[in-house]
Homo-oligomer: 149 residues x 2
DNA sequence: CAGGATCCCGCTAGATACTG
DNA sequence: CAGTATCTAGCGGGATCCTG
């Protein structure tokens, strides 16, 4: 009888990388994906169903145009949007498709790898939306307990 | 017959906040929790079981001392550790406990709210560790396809 | 339409020194 | 031990102008 379960062994076998260690390259990757714009872009590209009406296939991640993303992510600068999308493309999380119309049409869609990250990262956005009130209440308590001065 | 399922209605009812909107306060909260150090601190405080041996209760989130956290999160500066912990405390995600020994002992532990965030954020760290190889391969392909120059 | 290039400011993260 | 205080360099990120 083993001291570890099969699930634990699997988890450990996969974890040759440890983001707790500054020297581990997974630390830098964690830094990259722990980003507001990454979360929002992935959320936009991964959301299907009622939140995003009018897309073609119901089961596949919808492709979105650059301008669509820019409209969806209010307040993002074109620089940050482009930069984020390039980074995601380089990391294999999104596919960039250029259609030579005039003017040119560029669409972005999640890869399978990007979809897998979307599934975990969407939770962060949803958590923020769901628990904002509790966080605000806590801040108010904290700030009134020790007045800022 | 409703056009939306009960689950969809619930999700929408909760989502009075929308982080896609720059004006929505949940956007700022998303920005705060989309942070490398937040992810790592929560991961450290939330991890129980074989990853962190020697804690007292097996089911409760373990309390950790400041120095323990500093040792675990290699490369973090004391400034960032303190700052991150203060922010998490203010937001109601961790509890800071001061024990008047000499020298003083300070421990941190997750609140229920913090535990709920930990459950979603732990996935991000694990994703980075699990998929780093794929990301690296993608980067190499991308960079060789278009040489940096 | 979908960016590329450039300028520039602000704030943040790190290093260092000091303390109850 | 667990911080606080101060300084500074660096760069993240916005604004603006230009283009295939």
């Amino acid at each position: 009888m083993p001291t570890r379960t099969a699930a634990q062994q699997r988890a450990q076998a996969r974890a040759e990388y440890d983001a707790f260690l500054a020297s581990c390259p997974s630390r830098q990757l964690l830094d990259r994906i722990s980003d507001k714009w990454v979360a929002l872009v992935l959320a936009a590209l991964g959301s299907d169903g009622p939140g995003r009406p009018g897309h073609d296939r119901a089961d596949a991640p919808p492709a979105m145009r650059y301008s669509e993303l820019a409209r969806r992510l209010t307040g993002i600068s074109q620089k940050m949007l482009t930069q984020t999308l390039r980074s995601l493309e380089r990391d294999g999380l999104v596919i960039r498709t250029v259609t030579p119309t005039v003017p040119v049409t560029v669409t972005y869609e999640l890869t399978d790898l990007g979809l897998s990250l979307h599934r975990v990262v969407r939770g962060v956005k949803e958590w923020a939306e769901a628990h904002l009130d509790e966080v605000r209440a806590s801040r108010e308590r904290y700030d009134t307990a020790r007045p800022p001065g």
